[in-house]
Amino acid sequence: APGGEEAAAGGGTDGKPTYAMVFKNTGNPYGEKMMDGFEEAIKEAGGEVILRAPDQPTAEGQIQIVEQLITQQVDSILITGNDIDALQPVLEKAMDAGIKVLSADSAVNPESRMVHVNQADPELIGRTQIQAVSEMIDGEGQIAVLSATSQAANQNLWIEWMKKELEKPEYENIELVKVAYGDDLRDKSTSEAEALLLQYPDLKAIVSPTTVGIAAAGKVLTDKGLAGKVILTGLGLPSEMATYIENGVSPAMFLWNPIDVGYGAGMTAVALVEGDITGALGETFEAGRLGEKEIVEDGEGTQVMLGEPFRFDKDNIGEWKEVY
């Protein structure tokens, strides 16, 4: 497209480069925090920011938005994919138009992006949760996973790694009895959590690698007075989980800082636009307050790894719950 070439020449409205971010859906505090971080990074670098999200978490909605961004000749698009493959054609179109495309948090496939910004190593995320739960239940007993939707790429990957970790001999007394899906809906997650408890009376722990699921499970365990009897861990927002960590239902859970993820992704976008990096393996760049980052391998593509999952427990939840 003719518009694309202009964009490639670095056209913003007033000369400043424009950076767009497209999150999964609107009204998601995790996404809001990521956007905050992204904005912070872009402001530091002196660019314009566009923050968008469809009202439903669908790839179709994101495609529409990306089309609009292409027309606006932005310089870079950061996307948190609602679907790993479905955005490929439109993102390829964006790249053809000279726009720097990268994903963060929830990846799109390597062909659709130049680089992915990974909040934490999926392997590490999966393994850490099993290590934690093992410690909490003294390496023995039944555990179950309560996930988001059955299609959620992130969650599925993490669950894969959990299963791998469980193959290690030190976990031979731990049995993963079921992976349930609460579809990130409050009511469904609650029913699923209740069903787990009923179906497996000897259940020792629930691992829920999703914000809505872990909070719903926390609520169920609290209401049923099962604190200490059935352990809860996983990935969740500190604000949502504060109550259940403070009341002992969940001794600890994990997450990374979405502000940092957004910030890191913003810095990566800036580096791409300014030509410091191209997304090739081995390149390094200065990621503001996060220090120097290197582009590493990620299957067939490349990624920037931000850190390890952060552990929240009684000691630190108080300060973090106000943050996000």
Binding site: T71, Q72, D83
Partner: protein, 346 residues
């Protein structure tokens, strides 16, 4: 009402006119003019708000993105004229595209055949809806399609589980991305089908019977209209068009999954309603709904270009729907006054 003052003895013999008088007033008071006005308004406002809006390439690409739902609008117009509703169309899109992808990727069926089967699956979904609705008259279309909405998507989940299926042949991307002489293929397909459906609804005996049923189902049956058959055909068409949407959507996304086209039905219903087709049945025209597709499409596109948050977009579209439906209600009064004053002048 002049006949009242005519000679009463003329009671028995009387000639009737069979040429319809052309009334300019009536012509211009059609709902579609209002829609065109709204459409122009959308264009003007968008152009003034964003320098990128009146950009041929951008407009063309935007058209490619929002038109896929438009295919379902055609049969939905007929369904709503019939006083029914079909909320399973989104699920039909998912199921037919998932089956198409599975056939091609897992069962190694040639893509051409997979496309045909996709259309057949869509039509079959619609046919099942139609048959259930006419065989079980005590169930309304809402409940039948509500159940099949869950069922069809459920089957799509059973087939593909948590997987996406893509890797279509190169040429398949033509549907969603290709152009002929600079005009997007999807726009060409949409235009052709728009003409076909407009003719079908307004120029054929079939369309006439659809309107008859929408106005008075019983009287139509008593007049020898095969009401069941027509209903089944219309619902089958809805399934077929959903399958066409499925093809364009899968092509555009390069892959498909069980959760595509979520909530499409509500968007489609909104477009049809904005197009002046009343869910009370029997009224409205195809052209209105077609204009409505473009109004909503370009409105969303234009608002997107100035980066209005999607929550605000929701509110704006809701208001647009309300206002445009409320205005003609007030038009009645206006028309009344207007015609009164006119009469004095004549």
């Amino acid at each position: 009402m002049e006949q009242r003052t005519l000679d009463q003895n003329e009671y028995v013999q009387r000639t009737l006119k069979n040429k319809q008088e052309f009334s300019l007033k009536k012509f211009f008071l059609q709902w579609e003019w209002l829609l065109i006005l709204v459409f122009l308004l959308v264009i003007v406002i968008n152009t003034s708000l964003s320098p990128y809006f009146l950009n041929a390439a951008g407009l063309r690409d935007a058209t490619m993105v929002f038109l896929d739902k438009g295919f379902i609008v055609f049969p939905m117009v007929m369904i709503m004229i019939l006083r029914d509703i079909d909320i399973s169309v989104g699920s039909t899109v998912a199921l037919s595209s998932v089956i198409m992808a599975t056939l091609y990727n897992t069962l190694n069926v040639p893509m051409g055949a997979a496309l045909v089967i996709c259309l057949l699956v869509g039509a079959l979904c619609g046919l099942i809806n139609g048959l259930l609705i006419v065989k079980f008259k005590e169930l309304s279309a809402v409940i039948v399609t509500l159940a099949t909405m869950i069922l069809y998507r459920g089957i799509a989940y059973v087939i593909l589980e948590d997987q996406a299926s893509g890797n279509f042949p190169e040429w398949f991307s033509f549907f969603g991305w290709g152009s002929v002489a600079g005009i997007p293929f999807i726009l060409i397909a949409f235009t052709i089908l728009a003409i076909v459906f407009t003719l079908l609804l307004h120029k054929t005996t079939f369309g006439r019977q659809v309107y008859a049923m929408g106005n008075n189902d019983t009287a139509s049956r008593f007049s020898g209209v095969r009401v069941d058959r027509i209903k089944v055909i219309v619902f089958t068409l809805a399934g077929l068009m959903a399958a066409i949407t499925a093809i364009f959507l899968a092509s555009r996304m390069g892959s498909t999954r069980p959760n595509v086209a979520m909530m499409y039905e509500l968007d489609v219903i909104a477009m049809v309603a904005l197009g002046g087709i009343s869910t009370a049945g029997g009224k409205g025209r195809m052209i209105g709904a077609i204009i409505a597709v473009f109004i909503i499409g370009y409105l969303q596109y234009g608002l997107g270009l100035i980066n209005i948050p999607s929550q605000t977009m929701l509110i704006i579209i809701g208001l647009l729907l309300l206002v445009s439906v409320a205005v003609p209600k007030m038009k009645v009064n206006w028309k009344f006054k207007k015609s009164g004053s006119k009469r004095k002048l004549e």
